[in-house]
Structure formats: structure tokens, C-alpha cells
């Protein structure tokens, strides 16, 4: 089952759907990327000259910064078009308004006040753009006391999901006074974009069925809450507020290996037994001790760390799995990239880009038998200015003058 490329003509689910995106960094761009992967035409609006801040974040090939070569931008904006527009300029806003009349979906990441300032606030759209679906993907949602709050990834991650519980268990035991820890990959922001894409998909489906447009209010913080169901449930049902110190103290966790680390996760008594056998049935890993992790967990783990330290992670992984113990290696991004399994399943797709060169990109997490997802390169800054403005009826002369005056 091959991935669609631009040369491939398999049908796409969202082919013909027109999407306008005003976005920066991760959340809203990820949402737009997911729509583009199903064939939607996504036009991304970027500030003239500088573009999306993710264009300046890198990583860059050979560590040489370049607006067209930032790995983060290239990955998060696959399959889109780019136009540059100064939204603080009156003519820029006029063009934005014209564009909202030509598309099916608007995705933005603006707080309500800024959206109104750009004259694309919810009320105006509901009145004058009845068929438009507008999704606002903001840190704390478009209503409520925090709707105007600014946030970056660390804020979202620790205000929403399980950020307050990390690290926990034995890891916390080692250094109790350290600050709660974030995931290293902007996971919280990705989760916001993914969650919004699902809500948006419902609205698009409704529109395909004949409904008018509507407004979608997506809070990235609330998207994190899906991750943090469990502590909320424990609080509700048992009256227990979990914190980093009280969270389920378990046997296992992160263990050192000769060439990295592995994760040992045993949740069922049967697996504790298997783990005991795997370790060679030492006294410190007896069934009685496994049953009382609060008393013996630290001792077991200390011994286990010694036991695993001189073995390779692949040995621990494969032998552990064979012995019925869920062991998983901590793969680095490099190892994931080289993984034979992912290679065999065609997860990575080679994408050529005129400025950045050819790289393998992680593809969509699912396969579809009839309408395979597509993966095309990210756009150059303002690459589609001419095309898009011409479609609005601007003449070449007008477009040149818009460029000279810095509007585009």
C-alpha cells in the first residue's frame, strides 16, 4: 500500500476542501497538516519577511540557520501553500476578509480580542460568513477568564494533563526537590492540534451533509485533560489527590542498560512472577516482596538496576519479551528513524524540497486502503502569493505594488 505522492492520483478524502490557516509554531499548524494529509488545499498565512517563528527554530541542515530549512517548520507544514500577509495593515486585513469568503474552513490560533481586531471575530463570521467553519485553537479556549492568556508549550503541558505528576515514583525518590518535568517534544502542543483536527472533522462532515458553517472552540489545555483523566477520576471516586510523591509506587520503571535504558513495566501479578524468573529468582525479587512494593520497591529496583546495567537494551528487550515481561527499550529518535519495522511498513516518506533538500519525513500514523494519505513538501515563504492573489482578482500590477508596500 503505497503512500500517495503528488504524482499519484488516488482519490483523497478532503480533495477540494479549501482551508485558510493563520498559525504559528505547533498546535494549529499540526491541525492544518492533518487536513492537508487527507488532500485538503491548505493556504497558510505568514507574516512577510519573517514567516512562522518555527522557520527560525530549526533544526537546520548542517546547523546553518535558514528560513526555508527549519526541520520543525518543514515537518509541521507539509502539503500546504504559503502566502505572506501583513495583518496589521489595513489592506492586509481586507485581503484576509476576501479570502475568508473563498474557503470552507478557517483555522487560527488567535485569542478572541486579536481575532476581532483582525475583523474575523466569531460574531462577524457567524453573520457574514455563514458557510465558513472557523476553528480557534488557543491555549485556554475562546471563553472564560483565561481566554486572553498567553502560553507556550511548558505552560500548556503543566496546566492541563499529567505534567504536575512528572517525574514520579522512584524517579522522584531520587531527586524530590526538582521541578515538574515536561516532555521533550512539545507533546502538549501536538495534542492540542490533533484534538482540534478531530473536532474540525466533525464540523466538516456536518457541512458535507448540508449544515452551515460553525465555530469550533478548541483549548489546548483541555486537550491535555484527555491525558489526565485518571487523576481526576481518582479524586472524584476515591477522594485521593495524586501528587508526584503519592503516585503509584511501582516496581520497575526506567532501568539502565549497557548502551542506554529500558523500561520495565509489570502491571499484573503474573508478570511479576515472570520478572522474578527472568532475574534468576533472587531473594530480593521474591513474590512476597513484589506484593509489597511500598516497602520493597526501592530495594528491588536498586538490585534490578545493577542486574540490567551490564546487559544491552536489545538483549533485555528481546529476552524479557520472550520471558513474558513487558520490557521496552528507550529508543532515541535516531533509532526510531533507523527502525527496520518502520522502514518495512513504509512509515518514512522521502520528500524533496527545493531549498532544504531531500529528507525522510514521518508519515501519518494510519493507512487507509481506499484513500491513502498524502505527503507533499512544505511551501517556501510566500510561494503562492501570486497564484492566490490572482484568484482573488488582483492584477499583476496591484500585486507588485502590494509587495513593494510590504503588505505581502
Amino acid at each position: 500500500m503505497a503512500m500517495n505522492t503528488s504524482e499519484n492520483t488516488s482519490p483523497t478524502v478532503m480533495g477540494g476542501l479549501k482551508v485558510l490557516e493563520i498559525s504559528s509554531m505547533v498546535s494549529a499548524p499540526f491541525c492544518g497538516k492533518l487536513l492537508a494529509s487527507l488532500g485538503a488545499d491548505v493556504i497558510k498565512i505568514e507574516p512577510p519577511k519573517t514567516g512562522d517563528p518555527s522557520r527560525r527554530r530549526g533544526p537546520f541542515p548542517g546547523d546553518v540557520p535558514h528560513l526555508e530549512r527549519s526541520g520543525m517548520f518543514l515537518y509541521l507544514n507539509t502539503g500546504k501553500q504559503s502566502i505572506t500577509l501583513d495583518l496589521d495593515d489595513q489592506q492586509g486585513r481586507e485581503i484576509l476578509w476576501e479570502l475568508t469568503g473563498k474557503v470552507d474552513v478557517l483555522i487560527h490560533d488567535l485569542p478572541p480580542s486579536r481575532a476581532s481586531e483582525l475583523r474575523i471575530g466569531q460574531e462577524r463570521l457567524a453573520e457574514a460568513r455563514r458557510d465558513l467553519i472557523a476553528a480557534a485553537i488557543t491555549p485556554y479556549g475562546s471563553t472564560g477568564p483565561y481566554s486572553e492568556y498567553v502560553a507556550n508549550d511548558v505552560n500548556i503541558f503543566h496546566a492541563g494533563g499529567e505534567g504536575n505528576l512528572l517525574p514520579n515514583g522512584l524517579a522522584l525518590d531520587v531527586f524530590p526537590d526538582r521541578a515538574p518535568l515536561a516532555a521533550g517534544s512539545m507533546m502538549g502542543s501536538y495534542q492540542g492540534g490533533l484534538s482540534a483536527a478531530v473536532g474540525l472533522c466533525g464540523a466538516i462532515f456536518a457541512k458535507w451533509g448540508g449544515s452551515p458553517g460553525q465555530f469550533i472552540d478548541c483549548s489546548t489545555q483541555e486537550a491535555e485533560l484527555t491525558i489526565g483523566y485518571m487523576p481526576l477520576q481518582r479524586l472524584e471516586s476515591e477522594g485521593v489527590e495524586e501528587d508526584r510523591f503519592t503516585r503509584f509506587f511501582r516496581v520497575g520503571g526506567v532501568m539502565p542498560a549497557k548502551d542506554g535504558h529500558v523500561e520495565v513495566l509489570t502491571l499484573e501479578p503474573r508478570q511479576w512472577e515472570n520478572l522474578g524468573h527472568f532475574l534468576g529468582d533472587p531473594n530480593w525479587a521474591s513474590p512476597e516482596k513484589f506484593q509489597d512494593p511500598t516497602t520493597y520497591g526501592a530495594e528491588i529496583n536498586r538490585n534490578m538496576r545493577e542486574w540490567t546495567a551490564d546487559k544491552t537494551k536489545d538483549w533485555l528487550y528481546h529476552e524479557g519479551q520472550a520471558a513474558g515481561v513487558p520490557v521496552a527499550p528507550f529508543y532515541t529518535p535516531g533509532e526510531v528513524f533507523e527502525s527496520p519495522h518502520q522502514r518495512e511498513r513504509g512509515f518514512f516518506v522521502s520528500v524533496d524540497h527545493p531549498e532544504a533538500g531531500t529528507y525522510d519525513y514521518a508519515g501519518p500514523p494510519y493507512r487507509m486502503s481506499e484513500t491513502p494519505p498524502v505527503l507533499d513538501r512544505a511551501p517556501l515563504l510566500g510561494e503562492h502569493n501570486l497564484e492566490v492573489l490572482e484568484s482573488l482578482g488582483y492584477t499583476t500590477e496591484e500585486i507588485v505594488s502590494l509587495a513593494r508596500s510590504g503588505v505581502i
Binding site: 482519490p11 478524502v13 527554530r57 533544526p59 548542517g62 530549512r69 472564560g144 477568564p145 483565561y146 502560553a151 505552560n155 496546566a159 499529567e162 504536575n164 515514583g169 524517579a171 531527586f175 515538574p180 518535568l181 515536561a182 516532555a183 521533550g184 517534544s185 495534542q191 484534538s195 478531530v198 472533522c201 466533525g202 464540523a203 462532515f205 449544515s211 452551515p212 458553517g213 472552540d217 483549548s219 483541555e222 486537550a223 487523576p231 481526576l232 477520576q233 472524584e236 471516586s237 501528587d243 520503571g253 502491571l267 513487558p326 521496552a328 528507550f330 529508543y331 532515541t332 529518535p333 519495522h341 518502520q342 518495512e344 511498513r345 512509515f347 514521518a362 501519518p364 500514523p365 494510519y366
Partner: protein
């Protein structure tokens, strides 16, 4: 919004029917979302091997009770339940009968199980060409890792996500959370709803193969690119950001209380200074520019901590946000439940359940103003809708249903 209001409106998927074999978390979530969007979701389960989420400590009394688990109630709300013992051939025939009335099938058994039961995609699409079937698994339905034994937290390790999480320059600590389940489930809904549209256009369904590992790797875009573009492997870097400083969680007044702060621009740095009433350390040469603040971030963290320690997370948030600086308390479960912002936005609905009475069920995490997602009913009791479904859809009479129950087919 009252419960009646929320249930009054049709959702985008009203009129669609889902046969949902999904269980535990990753398998149950897609059906939950589809039900909130208006679909009729038939949860197929069995006493023979109960959904793990129904097991565990009861809230009331000491006897195990499959109807007392709030997390199960959350991720299965809005669904109907039929009890079917798939070890019985009669049950397989009943499933085939139901598929003829359904639009979507969801499952997250180990790869190969549906085929072995005789209800794989080939068979089901033979019964109903329009069927959209989604399989969710750790690593996809094919390839060397398809049979791997892995809980979601192990997938975080395999995906490379866990290796990036830890304090700077130290060992990785891992996320230890079922994020793979959630990411996999959300991508599944996205693909299913899209496929339903395609079905409407062409009359053909399709097969969707979701990998939770890939769903997790998809959040690692920049980390993978870093390896490809520079040969460097992303390592734990604590809460540090490559371009922002100060950035991270800072200790506050109170027990294990923290506030997260992130300063992106020079303007925001000036805002932070103003919010703090310009303590003298701010003027030190080492903090004179964005670049020097980034270079001296450890010192900066120490200085900033002396200021944050004297105040509560709430005070700091208000002071900083009023200057346009990103700050928010690091919230625990209780903070999230009782936070005025969440209260105003309606984090949950109180839904009556026959076993536990009114309990909070969390609303879906986005809102659509015209076709809002809504919690349409409480999570079903095991087999609660046997009569309704087998009688109503397949025309099996009451007596025969009772017989099938006795024979442990509907079980």
C-alpha cells in the same frame, strides 16, 4: 448547558451505527467520541473476558462489580452494550448479522484475532461493502513488531518520546503515561469520519490500520528531523527550551507548588521585569540580551526562583499575564476541577448512572456551536441492550434471546 440541552441537538454522525469491539482505553475512546458526535455505538463485550476497565476495586461495598468504575463510565458513555461470547460460533454469526446494519467497525485486539474469529475485514466487507473498519494496534497489522507485547507506556519508550524526557544531561525518565492510547484513538476518529464521507460519495467503505507507535512518533517531528539534518540525537534537556529563557517551572509558596513561566521576546522580558518590580539582579550584565539570558539560564532560574518562592502560583500568574507574559500554575487534579476557568467552560457534566448515581463525566475537549458534541447517556451495563439490539435489528424474539443467554452465547 443542562443535560437536556446538550442531548437535544443532533450530532454530525446522527444516523450512523458503529459496532465497537474496542476495549480498555485506546479501543474505547474512538467509540466514545463517535457517540458524542451522535452515532449509535454498540459496544460488543463479554463476561468471558471482561473489559479490563470494568475490573478493579468497587466504590461501594467489597464485592467486585463491573458496573462501578468511573473511568469505564467516562470512556464508554453514550454507548449501548451487547454481551457476545466470541468463543461460540453462534456469536460469530450474530456479529455478521449485525454488521449488515452497521457503518463502522472498530477493534483493538492483537493483530490477527479478528481474522482468526472469522470476522476480519475481508469477511465483513463481503457482507457489507460500505463498512469502514478501523483496527488499532501497538505497531500496525503488519511488519516485524506486529506481535510485540506492549503497554502504552512502553510505546512511549519505543517511539523515542521517553528518551527525550529527563533533566538536562541526565538519564531519561520517561513519560510513564498512556499517551499512545490517546493519540492513536484520536487519529482513528479522524480517519473514520473522513472515510465515512468517502463512503457517502462512492458507496465503498475501507480498511484503516492505525499504529499507536506511529501516532506517538508523529509528535516527534522535530526530534527526528534533528537526527536527519545534523546527526545529533535529541537528549533530555529538562524544561529548557532552545530559544526561550526563562522557561520552565519555578517553585512557589506552598507544598510542592510550582508555576510555569515562558518568556519568548524582549518585550516579554521587559514585562516580566515590570511584573516583578524590577529586582536588581535583572540589571546584571549576564541577563542583558535574549542570547545572554539563554546562555546564563541556570543562574537566571535561580534568581527568578528567589522571587517566585515568596509568592503563590496564582499571584504570579496574574502579575505576569497582566504584562503579557506566559505563566500558569502547575495544576493538579483538584486545581483543574475547581479552577474558575474550567468551571465556567463546563469541564464535565453530571450524568446519572444506575450503579453510582450522579457522577462527573468529562465533556469532549472541543466545542462546536451548531452541532455540539454531547453525552447522550450513561455508560451501559454489561449486556444491557441485548434485547433492544438483537430483537430490534435482527428480529430475534425474546424467548430465543433468553435461550442464547442461557447457552452463554449472549454472555
Amino acid at each position: 448547558m443542562s443535560q437536556e440541552d446538550r442531548t437535544a441537538k443532533a450530532g454530525p454522525l446522527t444516523g450512523y451505527r458503529v459496532l465497537d469491539f474496542g476495549w480498555v482505553l485506546a479501543g474505547a475512546l474512538p467509540g466514545m467520541v463517535l457517540a458524542d458526535m451522535g452515532a449509535e455505538v454498540l459496544k460488543v463485550e463479554t463476561r468471558q473476558r471482561m473489559d479490563y476497565m470494568r475490573l478493579g476495586r468497587p466504590i461501594i461495598g467489597d464485592e467486585p462489580d463491573p458496573e462501578q468504575h468511573p473511568l469505564f463510565h467516562n470512556v464508554n458513555r453514550g454507548k449501548l452494550s451487547i454481551a457476545l461470547n466470541t468463543t461460540k460460533p453462534e456469536a460469530i454469526e450474530l456479529i455478521k448479522g449485525l454488521v449488515a446494519h452497521c457503518d463502522v467497525v472498530i477493534e483493538n485486539f492483537s493483530p490477527g484475532v479478528m481474522d482468526r474469529l472469522g470476522i476480519g475485514y475481508e469477511v465483513l466487507s463481503g457482507i457489507r461493502r460500505e463498512i469502514v473498519m478501523a483496527s488499532i494496534s501497538s505497531n500496525g497489522q503488519t511488519g516485524p513488531l506486529r506481535d510485540l507485547r506492549a503497554y502504552a507506556p512502553s510505546i512511549g519508550a519505543l517511539a523515542g518520546l521517553d528518551s527525550t524526557m529527563g533533566y538536562e544531561g541526565e538519564r531519561p525518565l520517561g513519560l510513564k503515561h498512556a499517551y499512545a492510547d490517546i493519540a492513536g484513538a484520536l487519529h482513528t476518529v479522524f480517519a473514520i469520519v473522513s472515510a465515512l464521507h468517502q463512503k457517502k460519495q462512492t458507496g465503498r467503505g475501507q480498511y484503516i490500520d492505525v499504529s499507536m507507535l506511529r501516532a506517538t512518533v508523529a509528535t516527534m517531528g522535530a526530534g527526528l528531523m534533528e537526527y536527519e539534518m545534523t546527526g545529533r540525537v535529541m537528549a533530555p534537556k529538562g524544561n529548557y527550551d532552545p530559544v526561550m529563557a526563562p522557561y520552565g517551572n519555578y517553585p512557589c509558596q506552598g507544598d510542592d507548588a510550582w508555576v510555569s513561566i515562558a518568556v519568548r521576546t524582549e518585550e516579554e522580558w521587559q514585562g516580566l521585569k515590570k511584573a516583578m518590580d524590577s529586582p536588581s539582579w535583572c540589571e546584571e550584565e549576564q541577563y542583558a540580551s535574549r542570547y545572554s539570558r539563554l546562555r546564563n539560564r541556570r543562574n537566571l532560574d535561580e534568581n527568578l526562583s528567589t522571587w517566585t518562592r515568596e509568592r503563590t502560583a496564582g499571584e504570579i500568574t496574574e502579575l505576569l499575564q497582566s504584562q503579557g507574559v506566559a505563566a500558569i500554575p502547575v495544576m493538579g487534579a483538584e486545581d483543574r476541577l475547581f479552577d474558575p476557568h474550567f468551571q465556567e467552560r463546563g469541564l464535565y457534566s453530571d450524568i446519572d448512572h444506575p450503579s453510582l448515581g450522579a457522577e462527573p463525566i468529562y465533556n469532549i475537549m472541543w466545542n462546536l456551536d451548531r452541532t455540539p458534541p454531547s453525552i447522550r447517556r450513561h455508560a451501559p451495563l454489561l449486556g444491557e441492550h441485548n434485547q433492544q439490539i438483537f430483537g430490534g435489528l435482527l428480529g430475534i424474539d425474546k424467548e430465543e434471546i433468553s435461550q442464547l443467554e442461557e447457552q452463554e452465547v449472549l454472555w
